[in-house]
């Protein structure tokens, strides 16, 4: 089973044998890959009960919870990595969630769909409509994405908060694209960050 491209990037860059907290782990695909490929001690948080049941049934340690609420219960620096994949834009307080991630984990992987991708821009510019694209497939009234963010927004946020970027990967489809034009060309971004 092949991983979603942003998860594959994360899986390739987590150090073997490390401790990982996957926040918004879905059915545990990334956790299972990390466990099986790199002997990672992975724990997960997931909001959807059916996803949690599926993850537990594949032998993973996943607790049902909400990134906005339940990160507070985790001890400081308990993990080598905290992972937040395709979840940041769905949280009520992304800034607080990022702060918690960097408290719990020595490093954090954060991936999100880029709202400044050219298709999104075109949709707004020419169509005057909220974009419904490959990476943002759900209409405005039903989307869980309540805090849209662009790559440049995220870069600015990191700078303002003194957060260090250790790695950044930008995806157009399942292909990597350059950092320079990423805010225009990338559909997805993956950042590896830590506190400065």
């Amino acid at each position: 089973m092949s991983l979603r491209p942003d998860l594959a990037i994360i899986a390739d860059h987590v150090a073997p044998g490390s401790r990982v907290l996957d926040v918004g782990c879905g059915d545990g695909a990334l956790m299972a890959a990390l466990r099986d490929r790199a002997r990672v001690d992975a724990r997960g948080i997931e909001i959807d009960a059916a996803n949690v049941a599926a993850a537990v049934a594949r032998g993973l340690s996943v607790v049902q919870g909400d990134a906005d609420v339940d990160l507070a219960g985790y001890p400081t620096q308990a993990f080598d990595y905290a992972i937040l994949s395709q979840t940041l834009q769905t949280t009520r307080a992304p800034d607080k969630v990022l702060d918690e991630l960097l408290r719990i984990g020595a490093r954090a992987f954060v991936s999100f769909p880029n709202f400044a991708h050219w298709r999104v821009r075109l949709s707004l510019l020419w169509g005057g409509r909220m974009p419904v694209t490959r990476t943002l497939p759900i209409a405005w009234y039903a989307t869980p994405n309540i805090h849209h963010v662009t790559i440049d927004d995220f870069r600015a946020f990191l700078k303002e908060h003194g957060i260090v970027t250790e790695g950044a990967w930008f995806l157009a489809g399942d292909r990597l694209t350059s950092a320079a034009a990423a805010n225009f060309r990338a559909e997805h971004a993956v950042f590896l960050i830590r506190r400065g």
């Binding site: 001690d41 049941a53 537990v56 032998g59 340690s61 049902q64 919870g65």
Partner: protein, 372 residues
């Protein structure tokens, strides 16, 4: 394996003890009635202990000797089930203080007469200590898993806190790490109903063959309400009348829900001892795992290498999801490997005993991930 009298259904063992109890007293000897299914494998690594609830018993997957009903957890335990005698060595013991063969208030004291209220007040931890004696008797070095719902879940948590080196994984279903004021309140109603029955006679009713059935039935009726959800009761009974066209303007069981509760009460007294009900509800009320650890629940699990799986049900208002969540937070704070899911069911607290395919899937996956 050659026939070994320690293993099989309907077993009982009397151990010399003495068992030192939380209340400061000791119990000797200690009789434990239990059942085992399946066989202990060569490296003795497939043993699963199942802990039963307040009015449960050791007949987890075999016919109840008094009621003739099938075991109370045949949906979870049996051939092809998540807990399977073909793969696992399964043990279930009647808890200390109960009345299905283990030492309790109905047992004979040293003078030959029933203990009645001379039986020492026990705790959940005392129940687990008794199970530890059984474990040694059976030659099980460590449980691969300890599993329980409701009060059974309290025992599982207590095992994890007391003997983490003797348990590899824990499954705690519809349970809590402490009894709340509301939990204690409902139990107190039940106890007062029993003690208000003139036939209770200060607990000395065993000679009379006329136990405080009315009081015990009321206790069961009150408790039974807490095992169901409001929506479940409404769906099952609504305001429908029982076998009549109109209200009688009397105090018969006009409503179906009244008739149902009365039946629950009456059928309960045939299989349960009123004094045991007092002792076991007391043990549950005294349960507060954090209290034993300086008020910090996480301390109960500090350094634990065990794996934990907790399950709650969304309509359970006896031990609601937040109680499981409090345990999960403590496990996370202690760095223990924890899984938790709240499952959806219309049936309230009792959901764990009913048909719950998702529960079975979770338990099966969790056990298999532990190599079971």
């Amino acid at each position: 394996m050659k026939h070994d009298a320690r293993f099989g259904p309907r077993r009982s063992v009397t151990l010399p003890g003495p068992l030192a109890l939380d209340g400061g007293q000791t119990l000797a000897p200690v009789t434990i009635a239990y059942e085992t299914y399946g066989a202990l494998d060569a490296d003795r690594a497939n043993a699963i202990l199942i802990c039963h609830a307040l009015t449960g018993d050791q007949y987890v997957a075999s016919e109840h000797p008094l009621t003739g009903k099938p075991g109370w957890w045949t949906r979870m335990v049996g051939e092809g089930k998540p807990i399977d005698p073909a793969r696992h060595f399964i043990v279930c013991a009647n808890v200390l203080g109960s009345c299905l063969g283990s030492s309790g208030p109905a047992s004979a004291a040293a003078d030959g007469a029933p203990y009645a209220m001379r039986f020492p007040v026990i705790t959940i931890r005392d129940m687990v200590r008794a199970q530890m004696l059984l474990m040694e008797h059976l030659g099980v070095p460590a449980w691969a898993a300890v599993v329980g719902g409701s009060m059974g879940g309290m025992q599982v948590l207590q095992w994890a806190a007391c003997y983490p080196e003797r348990v590899r994984s824990a499954i705690v279903i519809a349970s809590t790490a402490r009894h709340s004021a509301q939990n204690i309140a409902f139990h107190e109603v039940g106890r007062q109903a029993i003690m208000a029955d003139p036939k209770w006679r200060g607990g000395d009713y065993y000679e009379s063959d006329d136990p405080p059935s009315a009081g015990l039935a009321v206790a069961r009726m009150a408790a039974h309400i807490t095992y169901l959800s409001e929506a479940g009761l409404t769906e099952k009974f609504g305001r429908r009348l029982q076998g009549r066209e109109s209200k009688t303007f009397g105090f018969d069981a006009d409503f179906q829900v009244e008739s149902y509760l009365r039946h629950q009460g009456i059928s309960f007294v045939d299989r349960f001892d009123a004094n045991s009900y007092l002792y076991i509800t007391r043990a549950m009320d005294y349960f507060d795992l954090a209290e034993e650890h300086g008020g910090r629940l996480a301390e109960a699990f500090r350094g634990s290498k065990m794996r934990f799986c907790l399950v709650s049900f969304d309509t359970d208002w006896l031990y609601p999801t937040r109680e499981s969540r409090a345990v999960v937070q403590a496990l996370n704070a202690a760095g223990a490997a924890a899984s938790f899911v709240e499952l959806s069911s219309p049936f309230g607290h009792d959901a764990f005993l009913l048909d719950a395919p998702e529960l079975n899937r979770v338990v099966d996956g969790f056990l298999r991930a532990g190599g079971l």
